[in-house]
C-alpha cells in the first residue's frame, strides 16, 4: 500500500470515528472531539489528492525547465485549500468550545440529552 492510499484510508477512519462520536456519544466535549476528527479527516483527504509519489514541492526554482516542473511537481491547489479549511475548522471548534463552557455553567452537566431535555 503506498503512502497516498494509506492516508486515504486514515482519512476515512477519521471521518467514520468522528461521525460515530458526533452522533452517538452523549458527552458534549467528546462530541466536539468527534467533530474535530471529521474536519481533520476531510483535510487529510484533500491533502492526499495533491500528493505525487516521488514528486517535488510545487515551487518553481531557477534551473528547472517548465515542462519538467509541470510533470513532476505535486498539485498545489489542495494544499492551498486545506490551509483555509484548517482556519475554518479552528474557528468552528473555538465557537463550539465557548458554547460548551456556557452550557456547562448553565446546566452543570456535559450530557447533551440532559441539556436538551431542559430546552423548551
Amino acid at each position: 500500500m503506498d503512502l497516498q492510499m494509506a492516508s486515504l484510508f486514515a482519512s476515512g477512519a477519521f471521518i467514520i470515528i468522528g461521525l460515530f462520536a458526533a452522533v452517538f456519544i452523549d458527552n458534549l466535549i467528546k462530541k466536539i472531539i468527534g467533530i474535530a476528527f471529521i474536519e481533520e479527516g476531510a483535510n487529510l483527504f484533500l491533502i492526499c489528492l495533491g500528493y505525487k509519489a516521488g514528486g517535488v514541492v510545487p515551487i518553481f526554482l531557477p534551473g528547472m525547465s517548465a515542462d519538467w516542473f509541470a510533470a513532476n511537481s505535486a498539485y498545489p491547489l489542495p494544499q492551498a485549500l486545506v490551509l483555509t479549511s484548517i482556519v475554518i475548522g479552528a474557528s468552528t471548534l473555538a465557537v463550539m468550545l465557548a458554547l460548551a463552557m456556557v452550557l456547562y455553567r448553565k446546566h452543570g452537566t456535559l450530557s447533551v440529552s440532559e441539556m436538551m431535555g431542559d430546552e423548551k
Binding site: I88, L99, K120
Partner: protein, 493 residues
Amino acid sequence: MNYLIPLMVVVPILAALIVNIFGGKDKTVKAISLVVAIAIPLIAILAAVGVQYFGGHDPTLIASSLPSNLVGALAASYNTGIVYVFENIERIFIFLMGIVAFLAVLTYFAEKKEVSGPYLYLIFMGIASVTALMLSNDIFNMYVFFEITALTQVGIIVASSTEDNYEIAMKYMILGAIGGPMLLLGVGFILGTIGSVNINDIIYALSNNFVNPYSPGLVIGFALILFGWLYSAGLPPFHTIKSAVYSKARPNGSAILQGFSVLCMLAFGIAMYKIFAYIPYFNTAIIGFAILAMVLSIAMSAMEVDFRRMIAFLAVGELGFIALGFGIGTQYSIAAALFQAANEIVITALLFIGFGTVYYLTKTSDTRKLGGLIAADSTMAIMVLLGGFALAGVPPFNGFQSKLMLVQAALDAGYTELAVLAIIVSVVIFFTFVKAFHTVYLQPKPKELKFAHEKIPKATVFSVAVLLIICLVLGIFPNIVTDIFIPFAGGLI
C-alpha cells in the same frame, strides 16, 4: 474590470469591523450601520454586470505562456484564481437582501436603546458572506463563505439573548460541523476527479468528456454536496433545527437569518444544477426533499402554539416550493423557483418583523396567552394580515404570481400531482396563518396579558410598510424580475 463587484463584499466586512471597534459609542455605530445598510443595495444596483478575477487572471490570457506539455490540455483552460460572476440575477438577490438588512437594522435601532456592536458585526459579516456566496463561481470558495455564514447565524442566535438560545445554537453548530465537512469532502471528490474547483472549469471538463461524468468520484461528490445543500437551506432532515434557529433570534435577526438561508439555498442550488443536472434521479431527489419540506414543515406549523415557531416552519415550508421549482427542472419552473426565492426573502422578513411586534409589545409568543392586539395597532395588524396573504399566495401579491408560475410549470411538465400538492399546501398555509392571526389579534384580550411596551416604534411600522409595498409591486408587475429569471433559467438548463 468592475471594482464595484468586490466592494459588495468588502464594504459590509469593513462595516462589521468598524462597528465592532466603536461598540460602545451608540451614535457612531448607528450612523455607520445605517450608511452601510443603505450602501449595500445601492452598490448592487449601480454595479455593472461582469466578471472579477482575483489573484489569477483570465485563463485565455495566460494560455499562450504555458509549458509545451500543457498547451491544449484541460489544465490550460483552468481559472487560476477565485472568480466572482455578477449578473442581473445576483443583482436582484443582493439588492433584496440589502433592503431586508437595512430595514432589520432600522428596526433593531428603534426597538433597542443600547445597540450591540457584536450583534451588528455578525449581521454585516453574514451579509458579506452570503453576498460572496452568491457571487462566487468556485465551489471551495462557496464552502468557505457558507461556513462563515453558519458561524454568523450561530452568533446572531447567541447575541439575541432569548430563552434557550445557547442550546439551539449548539445544536445548529453540531449539525453544521457535520454538514460543513461533508460539503468539503464533496468539493474534494470533485477536485480529485476533475482537478479544479471552478464551476466553469468543471462544466468545461464534463461537457468536453475530459472526465467520465458518471465516475464514482463525481457521483459521491454530488451526494455529499446535496447533503450540505439540505443543511444550508434547512430542508428535511434539518427543517426542525432551522425553524428553531429562526424562532430563537430577535425578529429583525430572524428576518435576516431566513434571507441568508434562501441565498445559501440558491447559490448551492444553482451550482448543483450547473454541474450535476445530468445525473439520473437528480431531479427526483430534489423533488423528494421539496415534498418532504412542504408537507412536514407546513404540518408542524399548523400544530404550533408559538407564533414565532409557526412562522419559522412556514418559512422552511416555503423553501420547499423553491426546491420544487428546481426539481421539476424546466426553464419556466426554475424561473418560478427563483421568483419564489425573491418573494420568500421579502414576505418572511415582513412576517418576522411584523409578527415580531407582538413579542415586542407583550414579551410572549405563546398564542394561548395572547389576544385583542388589533386594538394596540390596527395598521400593523392589517399589514401583517396582508403579508400572510402574500405568503399563502393570495392575489394581487407576489406570492400569488410565483406560486401560479410554479403550478403552471408543474402542469406543463406533466406533474399534475405536484401542482395539486402545491395548491393544497398553499391552502393549508392560508388557514394556519388566518387561525394564528385570529388568535393573536381578533379574539378577546386575556385579562392576565400585560404590555411591556405601549406603542410600536415608527421605524418598525415603516419597515413592514416598505416590505409590503415591495410585495405589492412584485405582485402587480412580476415582469420586473421574471424578465431576468426566465432567460437565466433557460441558460441554466
